[in-house]
């Protein structure tokens, strides 16, 4: 138990200090935080519940648009803002910016959760590959439709309010880093709390055999929806942060980017090992480093590399890094994972 406290404290301190240790990579680090949130929350229903969704991008994009729209709409008419495009006629004061951001993030987290609850009953009745394809369709449809709506910029995109003019780029980077790091800590605590309760066991039961779980008297639908709603909450939050970070929202390239982000979150979770607490976190970190490397050194060929990467990961590492380590070094791995396992068990008792 003591070791874990040290471990977590170490990670926390490192996380807090990271922007000062690597000042050049602040934006990258905040993106990493967002990616970890996405992968870890995908893992709730993808890894633990066995419902492989390509559609969490729906909540991510929804959160992104909502956060930005609320931030603008609270103070200025939204339609005129969109029309003015790049040339700003309205400028947020710093109080307005932070106020808008705070309300926007709350809305960005709550609304996707409600949406997930509403559509959950219909969508989650599908199983296996039908669920996967259905959610893929949802994500792409959302992107195509939002690309046709005028008030949020349609095909031209939507500019989020610029960061107020205090402290310049440095302050902006730090603000978004700590925002996303805070969200990550929140997500991690929530997920860890969930994983140490009966709820996780129910999700695993649904994954292993849903009919039997139902026969055992578990209201599977209720738990499936709750699981999906938790995912949606954090996806929306992550989307809202990412929208502010990128500064520009495009319907199919940034927000409902099923081709990139929607696949990334699945890939990261699988790469790290789905169905584990640490798997998605490790997976996201490794993936992000890889991706940035590809993007830098193979510019133009990044999608080719990405496609090959997906195929290779899926064929050769379907169990992910955690699973691979478990096979390769059972005794060493036993120590690492048992710690996580034992921790969960101790808390159960």
């Amino acid at each position: 138990m003591n070791k874990n406290v040290v471990l977590y404290a170490g990670i926390l301190i490192f996380g807090l200090a990271a922007p000062f240790i690597f000042p050049a990579f602040k934006v990258q680090l905040s993106i990493l935080c967002v990616l970890i949130i996405l992968a870890a929350t995908w893992n709730i229903q993808g890894g633990e519940m066995g419902y492989n969704s390509f559609g969490n991008i729906l909540f991510y994009g929804l959160g992104m648009y909502l956060c930005a729209s609320v931030q603008v709409g609270m103070f200025f008419p939204l339609a005129e803002w969109t029309e003015s495009g790049g040339e700003k006629t309205f400028v947020h004061t710093s109080a307005q910016f932070f106020q808008g951001m705070a309300v926007g993030l709350v809305v960005a987290a709550i609304v996707p959760t409600i949406v997930a609850g509403l559509i959950g009953y219909s969508i989650l009745g599908l199983r296996g590959h039908y669920f996967a394809i259905c959610t893929l369709g949802l994500g792409v449809a959302a992107g195509e439709i939002s690309g046709g709506i005028e008030i949020i910029g349609a095909g031209q995109g939507f500019t989020t309010p610029p960061f107020p003019n205090i402290g310049g780029l440095e302050a902006r980077g730090e603000f978004f880093y700590f925002l996303s790091f805070f969200a990550l800590v929140l997500a991690f605590i929530t997920i860890r709390a969930i994983y140490s309760t009966r709820f996780k066991l129910i999700l695993n039961a649904i994954r292993d055999n849903e009919d039997k779980a139902e026969a055992m008297g578990i209201e599977t639908m209720k738990y499936k929806i709750i699981g999906w709603m938790i995912s949606a909450f954090f996806c929306g939050l992550a989307g809202g942060i990412m929208g502010g970070l990128v500064g520009y929202i495009d319907s199919t390239d940034v927000a409902f980017d099923g081709r990139e982000m929607g696949v990334f979150m699945v890939l990261m979770a699988i790469l790290g090992g789905k169905g584990t607490l640490w798997g998605p976190i490790i997976g996201a970190t490794v993936f992000h480093i890889f991706k940035e490397g590809f993007w830098t050194f193979f510019l133009g060929w990044q999608y080719v590399a990405l496609g090959i990467l997906i195929v290779v990961i899926v064929i050769y590492f379907p169990e992910g890094i955690m699973g691979w380590l478990r096979e390769k070094y059972p005794e060493r791995f036993g120590e690492v994972v048992d710690e996580a396992d034992r921790k969960a068990q101790v808390e159960l008792k």
């Binding site: 599908l126 039908y130 996967a132 394809i133 369709g137 195509e144």
Partner: protein, 281 residues
């Protein structure tokens, strides 16, 4: 009318998907990208001065080998694994193809002009480009040939046997590995035909693959596996729906409405089945 002709093409693609889904239990997300690749083959023939209609013959031959190549490299490693793994793997192939085509052929929308005229029907109330009629006829011919081939030939029988029960087929001396490869090849060849026809009738673009995948998936789930008349009818239905959606909602919502329709169909079927406490398998 436009919609029906379009639907015949969709049905051809969907039949390929139903074939490999039934036989190999794989959902190929790269289906649409194979179609587009087939289209580019026809387009290149057009660029070199050959009439693109010949692409209908050349492109399936090339695509057959492309299909077998993909099978040997990737698919045979995922064929008996979890379905989700195969979805992800083909998604990877799809992204790969998309980008390679983007490099090789550029990101422009292209069209191979066939030079066919138009036909007027009912006192010129209905105007039909001949290229569309041509493509519909060719698709029907190919579909009929394929059905006969599946019924009569030795390989066709082997494919059907594997679809019914792959283990039993293996015991009875069918080389399932070969059957899988051939199925994937035939599917790719069908995509090649459809792609060549699409490049004549409509436009092709490297990023247009995914909608074709979704359309064929939709047709297959509406019609059911191995139900060829159903595939044809639901293909035409989808074609008509799209034309109407295009007309009523506007072109920018066309693709979106297709994807939304997929979600609605799946949800509808889920509720219909859940009354009997069953689910889509």
């Amino acid at each position: 009318m436009d919609g029906i002709l379009l639907g015949v093409l969709f049905a051809l693609i969907a039949y390929g998907m139903a074939l490999q889904w039934g036989v190999m239990n794989i959902i190929n997300i790269a289906q649409g990208d194979l179609v587009i690749l087939g289209g580019y083959i026809a387009y290149f023939m057009y660029l070199y001065g050959i009439h693109p209609a010949w692409g209908v013959i050349v492109s399936p031959i090339i695509m057959y080998f492309v299909g077998i190549g993909i099978y040997k490299l990737v698919i045979n490693k995922v064929v008996d694994r979890d379905l989700f793994i195969s979805i992800l793997a083909t998604f990877g192939i799809s992204i790969l193809f998309m980008q390679l085509m983007n490099f090789a052929f550029g990101a422009d929308v292209v069209l191979a002009t066939s030079g066919y005229g138009t036909t007027m029907l009912f006192d010129s109330n209905v105007v039909l480009p001949n290229s569309k009629i041509f493509s519909a006829v060719v698709s029907i011919v190919f579909a009929i040939c394929l059905v006969i081939y599946m019924k009569k030939s030795k390989l066709g029988r082997a494919i059907r046997a594997t679809a019914q029960n792959s283990r039993a087929a293996k015991i009875l001396g069918v080389d399932t590995e070969k059957v899988y490869a051939a199925t994937f090849g035939i599917n790719a060849a069908l995509c090649g035909v459809a792609g060549a026809l699409i490049s004549i009738t409509f436009t092709i673009h490297p990023y247009m693959g995914l909608p074709y995948t979704i359309r064929s998936f939709m047709i297959v789930i509406v019609a059911g596996l191995g139900n060829l008349p159903g595939v044809a009818i639901s293909g035409m239905g989808l074609g008509v729906f799209e034309e109407f959606a295009d007309y009523i909602l506007g072109t920018e919502f066309r693709i979106g409405s297709v994807f939304l329709l997929l979600v609605l169909i799946l949800v509808y079927r889920r509720f219909k089945l859940s009354r009997k406490r069953e689910y889509l398998k």
